[in-house]
């Protein structure tokens, strides 16, 4: 029961409605501002604190450029592999039956739950010079995995694995059997059916998954700091570079490089929204 100042009972529905309309909105907006926008704003202020010249100098330093470039290229390679394998896996999970399928489906989410630093340690244990795999790769094939670019990509593949699968799978499930059957009754091969009927429907979902996993790997730190050598210009990714700058007390340079990552991430977020919107349109 609610009463106004004159003691007259007010309609509780009215106050609820008003709170629902404005209260919840303020909570949502206030939260976004306080906990997301303000920190993001602060880093931009920090990055530009010493002026545009210094900002430009910080992001065009050779180690900074090669760190950002290494992050973007290794993330891009990871994304391409993930798109192919992720789409294939989602298709297999939706269209085929096999023993252990439920377990498989659960395991897909595992990388979400494993602390990424543990991911890094697992890779070191697996590909280290003391293991058979590590020895075979380095002695027989001359491939260095750990503390080199392949190690970074392997870590990103692990971390980014679920994204494409989990965005494509629900869309595949929604495709009516009638649509694919219709294609097959008019004589289309299963490849043609996939390419001409299924693919156009799941394409926005694939792109969304690709962008999400790309964005995720831009910021990956825990596993990379374990498997990459942190050598400037060679194996230092953008986040490892940021860490070094923060630790060296160089906040301005760290913030400037963060702004570049932020910009890329922001572009990706907009991209994801565009694809989502198209998918729902």
């Amino acid at each position: 029961m609610a009463f106004d100042s004159t003691g007259v009972q007010t309609n509780p529905r009215d106050t609820d409605a008003v709170f629902g309309k404005w209260g919840l909105r303020w909570v949502a907006l206030g939260y976004l501002t306080m906990f997301i926008l303000v920190p993001v704003l602060v880093i931009n202020v920090q990055g530009l604190r010493l002026g545009l010249d210094v900002f430009w100098e910080s992001i065009t330093r050779r180690e900074a450029v090669s760190a950002i470039w290494l992050t973007i290229t290794s993330s891009a390679i990871m994304t391409v592999i993930n798109v192919v394998i992720g789409t294939l896996t989602a298709y297999v999970l939706v269209h085929y039956r096999f023993p252990g399928k439920r377990l498989f489906n659960t395991l897909v989410d595992l990388p979400f739950a494993i602390p990424t630093m543990v991911t890094g340690v697992m890779l070191v244990v697996l590909y280290g010079p003391q293991t058979a795999i590590g020895q075979f790769l380095s002695d027989e094939l001359g491939i260095r995995v750990l503390f080199a670019v392949p190690g970074i990509i392997l870590a990103l593949l692990f971390v980014g694995y679920p994204f494409v699968i989990r965005t494509v799978q629900p869309v595949l499930l929604k495709i009516e059997a009638a649509q694919t059957e219709a294609a097959q009754t008019i004589g289309a091969s299963s490849w043609t059916t996939f390419w001409r009927v299924i693919f156009p429907i799941i394409r926005p979902a694939i792109l969304t998954g690709a962008l999400l996993s790309f964005a995720r790997s831009l910021g990956e730190f825990g596993s990379i700091i374990v498997v990459a050598g942190n050598i400037p210009n060679r194996t230092q990714t953008a986040t490892a570079y940021l860490y070094t700058q923060v630790e060296a007390g160089n906040l301005q340079a760290a913030s400037a490089v963060s702004m570049v990552l932020l910009l890329v991430a922001f572009a990706i977020t907009i991209g994801v929204d565009v694809f989502r919107w198209r998918r729902h349109a």
Binding site: R62, N233, E247
Partner: protein
């Protein structure tokens, strides 16, 4: 990584006290002491803290709960400067304490009244190699050879890494690295060395663990790490360069925080305890060179002709299997004119090593 754990011994004492209600009634409330250390001496403090807890209990009847945090020296120092209210800091290099002095947390005269200038342990920069030394690494010069893979922590984040680089630089400057002579000896040698580094880990401990996992041919590391590894049954070997730097690790009470926490008395007692014969032997048994003359004599480190009072027996015995050999040319940070000079010359924004690291060929 930050590790914060309740010392088991303290927990044990607390558990015991539950069964002794009569004694507990008169005993003062337990006091909590927070120790912020650099990564490497964690095991040594694991030995010393229970000794101190017993000592403090005997002296005052009060239990001490010690909370321990270990990470790279620089990171630890920044954490304390940023508000991590530790009572005592045990760091790798003096500049990490100077940062706390500049932040107004540690008083400016922190090392003035102390006979050891706040230095609690010493060590040497040494080279850890594989068991049968397949790359035949015998001294600094061999690190610059083609195809040698070096493991050393990142001097941007690790105090220990700065000791390593200064050890290499000093050896070159003092003419102990054949093939690198003249004006550009140091720059040329450091450039060759940096080009061979395979992993720049975040702190000294992590770096040595990477080496122990079988990665790299040689780790630039500390005598205490290799002695510790040998005591733990490790099979890797190590060599003493003919010329190397003497590492000196400082300890200080964080004045501002002990006054806030009401822990000044116990914090000062803890720091003083680190120079007792037992604590110094506990450090020495973990591979750190002790600093007090009596304990140095027990480990064969006494200066010639020095007259030393015999160290009394205590709770910690001398481990006679540990040898601390002398090297041909041992130098200290004073070779570089002190820390602020060394930092500016090598690790500042325009420092020699900062520039060399930025120019590593991709």
């Amino acid at each position: 990584m930050k590790h914060l754990k309740l010392t088991l011994a303290a927990a044990g004492l607390l558990a015991l006290s539950a069964f002794a209600p009569v004694a507990a009634q008169d005993a003062p409330e337990p006091i909590t002491l927070t120790l912020a250390g650099y990564a490497v001496p964690r095991e040594a403090y694991g030995d010393i803290i229970p000794l101190f807890q017993r000592y403090w209990l005997d002296q005052t009847g009060q239990q001490v709960i010690v909370l321990e945090s270990y990470q790279a020296s620089g990171a630890q120092s920044r954490a304390v400067a940023g508000g991590f209210a530790a009572d005592v800091v045990a760091l790798s290099i003096e500049p990490d304490i100077t940062r706390l002095v500049d932040a107004g947390l540690v008083s400016e005269d922190w090392k003035d009244d102390n006979p050891y200038s706040g230095i609690v342990t010493q060590s040497l920069v040494v080279l850890a190699v594989r068991a049968d030394n397949p790359k035949n690494i015998l001294d600094w010069a061999d690190l610059a050879a083609e195809g040698v893979e070096i493991i050393t922590p990142d001097p941007a984040t690790s105090g220990g890494a700065q000791w390593n680089i200064l050890g290499a630089a000093g050896a070159a400057e003092r003419g102990f690295v054949p093939g690198y002579e003249g004006e550009t000896a140091v720059a040329d040698f450091l450039t060759a060395l940096a080009g061979n580094v395979l992993v720049f880990d975040r702190d000294g401990r992590e770096s040595y663990l990477t080496f122990e996992r079988g990665i790299g041919d040689v780790a630039i590391t500390y005598e205490n790490e290799v002695i510790g590894a040998a005591l733990a049954g490790g099979t890797d070997a190590y060599v003493y360069p003919a010329s190397t730097i003497l590492i000196e690790n400082p300890v200080a009470v964080v004045d501002t925080y002990v006054d806030q926490n009401g822990t000044r008395e116990v914090a000062e007692a803890f720091v003083e305890f680190l120079w007792t014969a037992d604590a110094q032997r506990a450090f020495a048994n973990r591979g750190f060179r002790p600093v007090t003359p009596e304990v140095r004599a027990q480990y064969g480190l006494a200066e010639e002709g020095e007259e030393i009072a015999e160290a009394g027996a205590g709770a910690v015995e001398v481990n006679a299997s540990i040898v601390y050999p002398a090297v041909e040319d041992e130098f200290t940070i004073e070779h570089f004119g002190g820390w602020s000079e060394a930092r500016a010359t090598y690790f500042g924004d325009e420092g020699l090593f900062t520039r060399i690291a930025a120019e590593i060929q991709g």
